[in-house]
């Protein structure tokens, strides 16, 4: 699968030089301004029907994730069961968007999710550091897809990006996109290592130009992971990219989002920055694990008026 770049942008990726000029020509991001905007949006008060809508939508957007050295097929099976029926006592509770695991555990997830609409996401390309030769990264990707993953979460080469070798980063994403075939490609920028909002905007454009279907904040292994202003900048980039290139790209906020209140704040930002079209699991995701139980707890609180204790929600 090749990526078509619309006329006018074709020579952007012709050389390192043109790509650098393009990326550095994007409007800057004022740190104080973007953080103030995010903080203001975070004061939105989402109540009653709006809250019920937001909680259900957030559950449907969760990529339920386990990315540990100690992961086993058993752990993955448990997570898949949770993803299918997050709240065992309430059949009206939607299932999550995807289960996100390391590539070698994809078969376990495929088996456990048979017959459901839940996607299987695998992290690949020498996740989380991305420090491996390209052929190893591509082999990693192909293996995950062959095992049944229909979404690939790749990491960009932050070293190359920070050294200004933008074309290397670009070409690696293009190659990975080819290796994923029909599977969706999420490009992890690891914004905590890019450090500035200008870099986040540039990396977002780079990943979108290279054909990424999603841009994703973080691996979850670096602090800070997702933050509201970083996600806001990425949503602006996706919004601008669509209006200029005619292609919509999704955004995934991953890592550090643990409570329902934060998830609702992200949805407010999605709503007011990117707009209606991104308010769907096809276009916005949360990469999370412990977030799900808080969403369930708030959901039940909203329905019954009472908080149930944490032991009424399963730990998987």
């Amino acid at each position: 699968m090749t990526v078509t770049i619309p006329a006018g942008f074709a020579d952007v990726t012709a050389s390192d030089d043109t790509l650098r000029r393009f990326l550095h020509g994007l409007p800057g991001v004022d740190q104080v301004g973007v953080e103030a905007r995010a903080a203001t949006l975070a004061t939105r008060s989402i109540k009653t029907t709006a809250k019920a809508f937001a909680l259900d939508l957030a559950i449907r957007m969760v990529d339920l994730t386990t990315l540990e050295g100690q992961d086993t097929p058993g752990k993955v099976r448990a997570l898949c069961a949770k993803g299918r029926r997050p709240d065992a006592t309430d059949p009206s509770c939607p299932s999550v968007a995807a289960i996100c695991v390391y590539g070698d555990l994809v078969p376990a997830a495929v088996e456990a999710l048979a017959g459901s609409n839940i996607h299987i996401a695998a992290v690949a390309t020498a996740f989380p550091s991305g420090r491996a030769p390209l052929d190893v990264k591509l082999a990693d990707t192909k293996a995950a897809v062959a095992a049944g993953a229909d979404e690939i979460d790749m990491v960009i080469d932050r070293g190359a990006f920070l050294a200004g070798r933008y074309l290397d980063v670009y070409e690696e994403i293009v190659a990975t996109k080819q290796a994923t075939g029909d599977a969706h490609l999420k490009v992890i920028l690891e914004t905590g290592e890019l450090a500035t909002y200008d870099n986040v905007r540039r990396a977002s454009w780079l990943a979108m130009l290279a054909g990424g279907d999603f841009i994703k904040t973080s691996t979850g292994k670096v602090s800070p992971a997702a933050t509201l202003p970083v996600t806001l900048v990425m949503l602006e980039a996706a919004r601008d990219f669509r209006s200029q290139m005619g292609r919509q790209v999704g955004v995934k906020a991953a890592g550090g989002i643990r409570v329902a209140k934060d998830a609702v704040r992200y949805l407010v930002v999605v709503n007011e920055v990117a707009g209606d079209d991104w308010l769907s699991p096809d276009w916005f995701r949360f990469g999370a694990s412990s977030l799900l139980n808080d969403l369930l707890m708030q959901r039940r609180k909203l329905a019954t008026g009472n908080y149930a204790g944490p032991d009424y929600f399963t730990l998987d």
């Binding site: 409007p27 800057g28 973007v34 004061t43 939105r44 008060s45 029907t49 709503n271 209606d276 308010l279």
Partner: protein
């Protein structure tokens, strides 16, 4: 119907207790008027009558000034700076403790969104009292020589756009320097000043140090023309400011005036555009544009004008206009029918003069005073909407080609209160700040306030500074 429809999230009114009628706060207690009459104050969002207040008459003014004089002579001017500071700290803490009540009351009486009264106005009020509380015992070190003396009794007349905040800007430095005050809030927004009177009682402030008399322009004129005062501090229209300047000419009264503005918000082609859009929104739609330093003239470099305006229009469609007490409201009500008429009139003039008018799709409530966020494009310097202060949510967009032209156009106004510069180039910010004839120049932000920063105007935007160390000079005999 939007996908994500925010349900109403109204702040509860139950925290405020509005009495059916109020007297005047004179000599430490609420008193009935001697020769004042009564008028009604309404909620601009619903036109519901909130309460009856006094339009203080000449004898009421006399009595308030006498109380302030007595308090000055017998108590306040004899207190040490340290003791005055203690009272100011107490006022600041009480404002914080009662912040929710004050925010709700301000939104009900003024029409501004609760998000602004809660997150901007009231926290700044407390910050001003805290800041000047700190100065009270350090006046020797403020750069005015040893032991600078207070002036005496200050007459303070404040506007309706930031009722409680303007009260704080006036009262905090006056008290810190050892003056006593008679304050007149605006006709349409008296309630938070009366609530502040209650806070003064709660703080055990010596009687007469702060006096609040309500009323309209006539009361204000009686107050500032009274021979018994030593200082006039006024925030409001340039027209009234001129009258005050004339009336105090040749007297011993010291004056500070903070008047109108028609600020330029200058966006260069290398600006951080998304944040510039936010700054423009914050510059002109904050507080429904009822801001003397509002960025009501957008000067945008021609090479990015289309891109910026597209972004601005998209952003304006997300603004939420409606119930000021709803926590998600961005644009509240226009403060009065009179102000609404003025905004409508000038907007019609804008159309007649050939500028292109645009507003986002926006449903206005049936009752109350409302005006949609409005943008005029194709405006030129000669249009009235580019010259006159509209004091409403109306933005005039002009373009420029070079930095020199931007400066010329920005300065080409009788006003000079504030200006904004948007560029990623630091050297250009400094160059612009030197060239712009405005009291405040914001770089890559707009409408940011802080008690430590002096605020005031050039030219017809007034004289004197409020806030910061400079603000002390207005209340000291220096």
């Amino acid at each position: 119907m939007p996908t994500f429809d925010y349900a109403p999230a109204p702040e509860s009114r139950s925290i405020v207790d509005i009495q059916p009628s109020y007297g005047l706060y004179v000599g430490g207690e609420m008193v009935d008027p001697i020769d004042g009459t009564r008028f009604k104050t309404v909620n601009p969002a619903t036109e519901e009558v909130l309460s009856e207040v006094v339009a203080a008459g000449p004898q009421d003014v006399d009595r308030a000034i006498a109380a302030a004089r007595a308090a000055y002579d017998r108590a306040w001017s004899r207190l040490s700076g340290r003791d005055r500071g203690k009272y100011l700290y107490r006022l600041a803490r009480l404002v914080q403790e009662r912040s929710r009540e004050l925010a709700v009351l301000e939104s009900i009486d003024n029409g501004k969104p609760i998000r602004e009264s809660r997150d901007v106005d009231v926290p700044l009020v407390a910050a001003h009292f805290f800041y000047y509380a700190g100065w009270a015992d350090k006046l020797d070190y403020a750069g005015f020589g040893p032991d600078p003396r207070p002036l005496g009794v200050a007459a303070q007349v404040i506007p309706w756009n930031f009722p409680l905040l303007m009260l704080a800007w006036k009262i905090a430095p006056a008290l810190a320097c050892g003056n006593t005050v008679v304050l007149k809030p605006a006709e349409t927004t008296p309630l938070t000043a009366l609530a502040f009177a209650d806070i003064c009682q709660q703080a055990d402030l010596p009687p007469g140090v702060v006096n609040v008399i309500t009323g309209a322009g006539v009361t204000g004129r009686t107050l500032v023309e009274h021979p018994g005062i030593d200082k006039v501090a006024f925030t409001g229209s340039t027209e009234v400011g001129r009258q005050i300047a004339r009336s105090v000419a040749g007297t011993r009264k010291k004056v500070t005036l903070e008047l109108g503005g028609k600020a330029a918000n200058v966006v260069f082609d290398d600006a951080p555009l998304d944040q510039a859009v936010e700054g423009i929104v914050n510059g002109i739609f904050f507080n429904q544009g009822h801001v003397c330093c509002a960025g009501s003239r957008l000067l945008v470099q021609e090479s990015v004008a289309d891109e910026l305006l597209a972004g601005l229009k998209r952003r304006l469609t997300t603004l939420r206009l409606g119930d000021p007490l709803d926590k998600n409201t961005d644009i509240g009500a226009i403060n009065s029918a009179e102000q609404l008429d003025k905004i409508r009139m000038l907007s019609e003039v804008g159309e007649t003069e050939g500028a292109e008018r645009w507003s986002p799709p926006c449903e206005l409530p049936e009752r109350g005073f409302w005006f949609p966020p409005t943008v005029f494009t194709g405006v030129s310097q000669s249009h009235r909407i580019a010259r006159e202060e509209i004091f409403g949510p109306v933005l005039s967009v002009l373009t420029f080609r070079t930095p020199g032209e931007a400066v010329d156009k920005a300065n080409n106004t009788p006003y000079g209160l504030s200006a904004g510069v948007w560029t990623e180039k630091g050297s250009r910010i400094l160059w612009m700040a030197q060239k712009l004839r405005a009291g405040v120049v914001w770089a890559n932000t707009f409408n940011r306030f802080d008690p430590t920063s002096p605020f005031g105007g050039y030219k017809e935007s007034g004289y004197g500074r409020e806030g910061g160390r400079h603000g002390l000079g207005a209340y000291l005999d220096v």
